[in-house]
Each structure stands twice: as structure tokens, then as C-alpha cells.
Symmetry: C2
Subunit: 338 residues, 2 copies
């Protein structure tokens, strides 16, 4: 449910992901005047249930009379299995300002409730040869908005951006252009290994037992990073090595601490493989901006600084609001005649 | 249940794994005179249930009167959670003939039934610095018997041995000595990704739809191998790429064939990562002997020959019987006085 708002919002920003939605009411100066969260993500909804789920979250913000309030949505609500499919915008060759053109490709969504004026942002897709020479098939939905937000805040930004998560995105930006991006499914891999593989017997039952502020765990995490970066091809052998260490390594602590240290190593190995791949084209000591949840960004920062990179962070919500704000204004301005 | 045997066996060989057991009755010349299988693997049994499960499988082979029949068991029955723990035999530095000493470290198992004389083989363990300089923590239970079997049949064997499976083992042998070994959990990784990850939506519902004899699938499998070998650090991005291909790649076939081709690519990527690691210290064009189930060995052979290695195969059961036979005879001969 959302907080109540004192005045009618000028527009509403929504980040609608697979497993939840976040909405913000904004005034005419793009100040947040209300916020709402819901656990009704795309995966839980059939197309005809989206409007009701949205009204549940933001209905209180809407005035009784017209005109309709603009609701700008990014994320998985625009997937094929979502509310209305918002076709991917393709990266182009040579790299163009695709992030500036999101506003020109909004998909309007018909609603039963006349108080709503809903539009969904496109995601981005990449095919081999598009963007950069080494780009492969890839897609994003939602992260393009955060990248647009970063450029709105730092128009001259150049460098690598990482958005950690179940499927982490890495993007390379240069002079306002998105060169290419890649998706690393490390978060999902870690979860599968932790919960469903033979390694679960060697890990702490509760993930809450794990804390990288603990010295032994931090050392095990960074050793995992180093091991994977030094020999990525040995990853699946190093994974089994966690089980073997549990059986053989006399230097490990006993009890819960043992599982927590081995869990930290697992996290380091899986993240290390991602970093070995994602940072391979960055200059040594280069800069990486992290956009994401704080705890996860901390883990990435620790690893990246250990590897010698300079790390900045931006909060998820800030970048989404900056991105949607830029698109909101661009879609409201008269476009130049082609 | 087992087949009946015409005469009293001289001894009985048992390979008792996590999920099943296979037993063979042998005559005085080590000829197989009976065979039994059971689905009662180590994971299904508490320690006091092993004797009953064994008698269910081989009870018919035992004569009513004494003397007791020797039953030699390799595999997970000797694990800590098994029947009786058979401590690991450690690899030594410099590499010694550890495979010849298995017979000197049998663990006798007390039984209620006086017709049984049961002994369990040790597994092998490896710690950093043992075996070779690059060895890490690792363990095996069961595969040591197959390696001993290979040396029994080919005493001068030198080269790499691969035992594919849920947790594939790779061993390097030289002049009758085991230099080192490594366990790659590719089989488990593949199963987790296929069944439980986001990729499942892009794969054929039935694994039976997949067949590497199909030209498109074989090409996709080998492309996966090449991709992982060329850039192992990009594995988790290439994994997500399977999902993106499903959404974007116009060259893919439709329907079941689409999922089968993408499944073959997944298999190639995961196996390719293993091969990149496991073959990194083999000479180009070197020889690899595969010991395992036929279908899985076929897949490994296809990939290894594609990468330029010379491949030989040995049947699982042959190597187990040769290994247990060697140990049976060695444990019956008088040992030299130290």
C-alpha cells in the first residue's frame, strides 16, 4: 500500500519487476511526494490483473476527476508475459544515443479506469555485431532506465556500469552512448548452488549466519574472487573443492562458522567468475559505477576494490527516478521535426 | 534382484554408489557367473540397513554353510554417512603408487550373517601440495577402483583419465602412479540450470527431445564447447545468452527443435568450461581415456575429438571388476615383510 499524498501528483513513476513493484508520486518539480510498494510482480499476474494491482498501489493518489494522471512504467511489466508487450529497442551500429530515444518509443496501455494514462518503456536488445564488435545476444528491461538516469545526472559519464542482481547487467558507456552490455546470471547460479547442490551440506543453514564484516569470511570471499579470476576455467572444480575442504581442511573453524566461511568462498568463486569476464575489457584501475541494493553493492565494491578498480555507487531508486524523470519530460516536449 | 548362479562364487564384487548398487558373482578365475542390481543406494540407507540391502541383492548366491564368502565393496558405502566409514587414503608427495596400496587398507565390516566376509575399500583424498604442485582439496570414492582397474589392464598407462558423471573426475597417471585428480561438478550444474533456472523456459520440456546425432544440435553443442573454451570467464554471460537467443535469434528453428538446439548449446557451454580447465595441462593432441556410461562418454568423446585430443573409452563395469579383482588377489597374497 502507498502513503497518502497531500496534493495531486504531476505524474507517477513505476518500476515493475518480476517479483514486486515500486511506485513514486511526483510533484511538478519531480519531488517525491508519495511512495508505494507491492509484492505483486509480473510473474504473479495475468495481463488483465495488472490494472487492478496498479490501482491497489497508487489508487489513493489519483484525483476523482479528469484529466488522467500520467503513469510511466519501466521493467518486466513490458515483457511478452507482462501487461502489454513493449518491444525491445535494438542497440545500433555504430553505437548511437539509444538511451535518449527511449522516450520516443513508449507503449500506451489502454485502461478501464479513465484516471490512468499509462505508458510502458521499451527494454533494450543487442545482437551480435550491434553496439560493439564483441557484443552477443542480450536483453534488458528496467536497467535501461537506470542507465538513462545515470546519464541524466552525469551527462558526460564514461566507463563501466554494473547493476548487481539475480541477473547482473554490465554496460559500457561512452559520450552518452551505450556501447554494449552483458548479463551475468551469477546471482541465480549462487542461489541454485547454495540451495540445491551437493554444496548445501557444507554451508551454513541460514544465509543470515554469513557476514563479510567477519574477518575469516571476508578472507574466504576474497580468496574465492582471486581463485576464480586467476583460473576461471577451473570454476566447477573449485566449486566441488568447497565440499572437499569441508571434509579435509583442518584450518577451517567448526560449527556454524565453518559453513559461513565456506559460503563466503562460494560467493567469491561465483562473483569472481563474473568479474573475470565483465572486467576483462576495462583498463586496469578503471572506474566502475554500481547501481543496486546496498548489501549486494557492498559485496561487489569489496571485490572490485580488491582487484584494483575504482568504485562509485548510486542508489537504485535515485537512478530510476532520474531516468523516468528524463523520459517523462522528453516525451512531453515537442519533438524536433525529422 | 540378482540372477541365480550355478556354483558357489569364489568372491563377490560390489560397486555401491549414492543411488544404486551393482554386484557381480565371480568364479575362481574371476569370470562373472552372476550379476545383480539394486536401487538401494547409500543415500537411501541408514547404517543398519546396508546388510539387509546387500543380502536382498546377493543372498541367493551364498552357500548355506560356512566358510564365509568374500564381498569386496567400493564406492559411497564407505562414506561417513554410509555403512562403515572407510578412511580416505591420502595422495602423497612425491606421487607414490597409492593405487597399489588400496588392498592394504581395507575396512572389515562386522555382519550378523556369518556367510558374509565384507570389506570396504578406502576412497582417496588430496590436499594442496600432495600429488602435484597444482593439486587442491579433493576426494573420490569408487573412481580409485576404476583407475586401479585401468592400471591392472594397462600397467604402463600414462595420460589423462576422465570419469564423466554428476561429479566428473579427471586424473593424471604416470608410470603406475596417480599424480593428481580433480572433480568437476558439471553434471550437477547442467541439471540445476536445465531444471531450475530461468533457462528452463527456453529448453525442450523433455530431455529425450535432445539428440546430438541431429546435425543442428551437434553444431550448437560444439559451438557451446568452443565458446566456453575460448572465454571461460564469460560463462555466466553466455548462459544468459541462451535465454536472449531464444528471444532474439531469428536463425533458430521453431517448436521442440528450438529448445533442443538451445539445450545442446547449454550442454556444450557447461562441458566446455570443464574441458577448458581439465585439459589445460594436457599436451595438444594428447590422449584421454574415458571410463563411464556410454551415452555420456559419447558426448565427451565428440567434444574432446573436436578439440583435437585422442580419445579411448573403457566400460565402467570392466574397470570396476578389473580393479576389485586386482585388490581381491593382492589382499589374499602374503604381503612382503616391511
Amino acid at each position: 500500500m502507498g502513503s497518502s499524498v497531500a496534493s495531486r501528483p504531476a505524474w507517477i513513476a513505476v518500476d515493475w519487476g518480476s517479483s514486486n513493484l515500486r511506485a513514486w508520486a511526483l510533484d511538478g518539480a519531480d519531488r517525491v511526494i508519495g511512495e508505494a510498494n507491492s509484492a505483486r510482480g509480473m510473474l504473479d499476474l495475468t495481463p488483465d490483473a495488472f490494472e487492478g494491482a496498479l490501482l491497489e498501489a497508487i489508487g489513493d493518489w489519483l484525483p476523482a476527476a479528469e484529466p488522467a494522471t500520467e503513469v510511466l512504467i519501466c521493467g518486466m511489466a513490458g515483457a511478452r508475459q507482462g501487461w502489454v508487450e513493449a518491444a525491445y529497442l535494438p542497440l545500433e551500429t555504430p553505437p548511437s544515443e539509444v538511451l535518449s530515444r527511449l522516450a520516443t518509443r513508449l507503449t500506451p496501455v489502454p485502461t478501464r479506469d479513465a484516471r490512468l494514462d499509462v505508458q510502458i518503456l521499451p527494454g533494450l536488445c543487442q545482437r551480435p555485431g550491434s553496439g560493439s564488435a564483441t557484443a552477443g545476444f542480450d536483453v534488458m528491461r528496467g536497467e535501461e532506465t537506470q542507465l538513462a538516469g545515470l546519464l541524466a545526472r552525469q551527462p558526460g559519464f564514461e566507463g563501466a556500469v554494473c547493476l548487481p542482481g539475480t541477473h547482473a547487467k554490465w554496460a559500457r558507456l561512452e559520450a552518452g552512448r551505450l556501447l554494449d552490455f552483458g548479463t551475468y546470471m551469477s546471482g541465480e547460479l549462487y542461489k541454485l548452488l547454495r540451495q540445491d547442490s551437493v554444496l548445501r551440506h557444507s554451508l551454513a543453514a541460514a544465509e543470515s549466519a554469513e557476514d563479510l564484516a567477519d574477518e575469516a569470511q571476508q578472507a574466504a570471499f576474497l580468496a574465492g574472487i582471486d581463485t576464480a579470476v586467476a583460473a576461471p576455467a577451473r570454476l566447477s572444480a573449485e566449486l566441488f573443492g568447497i565440499r572437499a575442504r569441508d571434509l579435509l581442511d583442518a584450518s577451517l573453524p567448526a560449527g556454524e562458522a565453518r559453513g559461513a566461511v565456506l559460503g563466503a568462498r562460494l560467493s567469491g568463486l561465483v562473483l569472481g567468475l563474473e568479474l573475470a569476464g565483465a572486467t576483462s575489457r576495462l583498463p586496469a584501475g578503471g572506474r566502475v559505477v554500481l547501481i543496486g541494493a546496498e548489501a549486494l553493492c557492498q559485496r561487489y565494491r569489496l571485490a572490485l576494490e580488491h582487484l584494483g578498480f575504482a568504485v562509485g555507487t548510486q542508489a537504485n531508486a535515485d537512478m530510476i527516478l532520474a531516468g523516468l524523470g528524463r523520459i517523462h519530460h522528453a516525451s512531453r516536449s515537442p519533438s524536433p521535426t525529422p
